[in-house]
């Protein structure tokens, strides 16, 4: 959990709900992602202009790579490198080699890039460009933008499905989710959700959207795009991600300082765990342990 106001990354054991480590990370940590093998966590500090590298098993900071601007969204290539970091203040994405610690490229995108996601095959990087109302599609082989997809107003979080066919974009100002056909680079549907949607977690055939102002999740079926219900969670829900088996959805409640555990089938809140101060967990933050 990136506990932004607490300047730390908390590690929570989901079986017990206990915080098992609190790792100090300065600069108001916000974005987080994990390598596919779960060995490394990458955390952005927008106020500290840095990318922190955490050994996820040892729960220790192993590196802090100085960056520039306002690092926010973060994603890592399925092969483990490079790491992509959205610069909130610039209209580009930083391509960071975590081994050499170098910024190897700056990919031009729209204004205030926020959420990032890489397709499962690693071929494409998607960037929700908040102040351009667009989703950028980037070829990771060339680091060039190959498509700009107009979406709703102020897109923030972007999530790609397991097959890499569709992307779901949460539009905070228009209170809807744009469903994007990635290959065709176009919006195929727009789904109305609650107030101030932030990110989308996918579990099975369901999409769970964190509605910040409504303190709830809007849930819809990704096949029919029809609503299947709402779930009351904590105050200011932000980051959300499903368990690897798709049975649970974990929601970071930024104001309430809790993590809600939601049953993806019954839509009931099973548990609410305490966290550190200001959990955002903007990105992928659930690590499967052996």
């Amino acid at each position: 959990m990136t506990n932004q106001n607490g300047d730390e990354v908390g590690v929570l054991d989901l079986a017990t709900g206990k915080t098992v480590a609190r790792i100090p990370v300065s600069g108001k940590p916000a974005g987080v992602t994990l390598t596919r093998d779960g060995s490394r966590a990458y955390v952005t500090s927008p106020e500290g202009k840095a990318l922190t590298v955490i050994d996820a098993a040892a729960r220790k900071v192993v590196d802090r790579i100085p960056l520039e601007g306002g690092p926010l969204g973060v994603a890592v290539h399925p092969t483990g490198r490079p790491v992509y970091v959205a610069d909130w203040y610039a209209a580009h994405i930083l391509v960071v080699d975590p081994e050499t610690r170098a910024i190897t490229a700056r990919i031009d995108v729209g204004k205030s890039p926020s959420g990032l996601a890489v397709t499962p095959d690693g071929a494409l990087l998607l960037s929700a460009d908040r102040d351009s109302d667009e989703l950028s599609v980037i070829d990771t082989a060339t680091n060039q933008r190959v498509a700009r997809v107009p979406v709703g107003e102020r897109p923030f979080g972007v999530t790609v499905d397991a097959k890499g066919e569709r992307a779901y974009v949460a539009n905070v100002a228009s209170n809807d989710v744009s469903v994007v056909d990635i290959a065709a680079s176009k919006v195929v549907a727009t789904v109305k959700v609650g107030e101030r949607p932030y990110v989308i977690a996918l579990a099975g055939d369901r999409a769970f959207v964190t509605d910040q102002y409504a303190n709830r999740l809007s849930v819809f079926d990704v096949r029919t795009l029809a609503s299947v219900g709402e779930v009351d969670v904590g105050e200011y829900p932000e980051g959300a991600q499903a368990s690897s088996d798709g049975k649970r959805v974990y929601v970071a409640n930024w104001f309430g300082n809790t993590l809600s555990v939601v049953d993806a089938e019954t839509l009931k809140v099973i548990e609410e765990f305490e966290t550190g101060d200001g959990p955002r967990s903007f990105g992928l933050f659930i690590r499967a342990t052996p």
């Binding site: 932004q4 106001n5 108001k28 916000a30 927008p46 106020e47 601007g69 306002g70 926010l72 909130w88 203040y89 205030s112 102040d131 102020r154 905070v172 100002a173 107030e195 102002y213 200011y236 930024w254 104001f255 200001g278």
Partner: protein, 178 residues
């Protein structure tokens, strides 16, 4: 140097004039409480009317429409300069003694924040109540490296000050009838 200042001012003007909701990357939050020697319904009778913010010391006048229904609006004219803050009621629950609202026109001159949302809740039993006032907001400066008066710290300090003064005034009003 001059250019730097001008550029910063221009960026700020764009951020405000555009109402583009551009903001810094780190939302701030704060929460203040006060204990009042009065029953919750007595406290609610004062604080629970969205159309009367006279318990907040800096408010000169409240004008609005929609009563206490969701989507009601109010305009708070402030003392000392007469700045007007416009607010929207986003949630109202008279049974739980709570409501939530947002500022719809950022006025960073008087409150150096943007994208401000807030809620107030009254809890308690018998003749004791606790009022909690919470807010979430971004600093007044939407871009990187803010000037000190529009920094995260300045935003927090201003809202903390508002809440502390407001809750003290509410306590006085309820307990002393002043």
């Amino acid at each position: 140097m001059k250019f730097h200042v001008l550029a910063a001012a221009a960026a700020l003007a764009v951020g405000l004039a555009g109402v583009a909701e551009a903001h810094g990357p780190t939302r701030q939050k704060t929460s203040k409480s006060v204990e009042i020697n009065a029953a919750p319904d007595k406290v609610w009778a004062v604080v629970g009317n969205f159309q009367d913010a006279s318990w907040i010391p800096i408010v000169e006048k409240t004008e609005g429409t929609g009563g206490n229904d969701k989507d009601a609006t109010r305009k708070l004219t402030l003392k000392d300069g007469g700045a007007v803050v416009e607010e929207l009621l986003t949630k109202y629950d008279a049974e739980k003694f709570t409501y939530a609202y947002r500022i719809t026109n950022d006025v960073v001159k008087v409150l150096p924040v943007t994208n401000y949302s807030s809620n107030i809740v009254v809890k308690g039993e018998g003749d004791k109540s606790t009022v909690t006032w919470s807010g979430a907001f971004y600093r007044g400066f939407p871009n990187n490296d803010p000037p000190p008066e529009l920094s995260d710290e300045a935003a927090l300090k201003a809202v903390d000050g508002l809440y502390e003064a407001g809750l003290k005034s509410l306590k006085d009003k309820v307990e002393k009838g002043s």
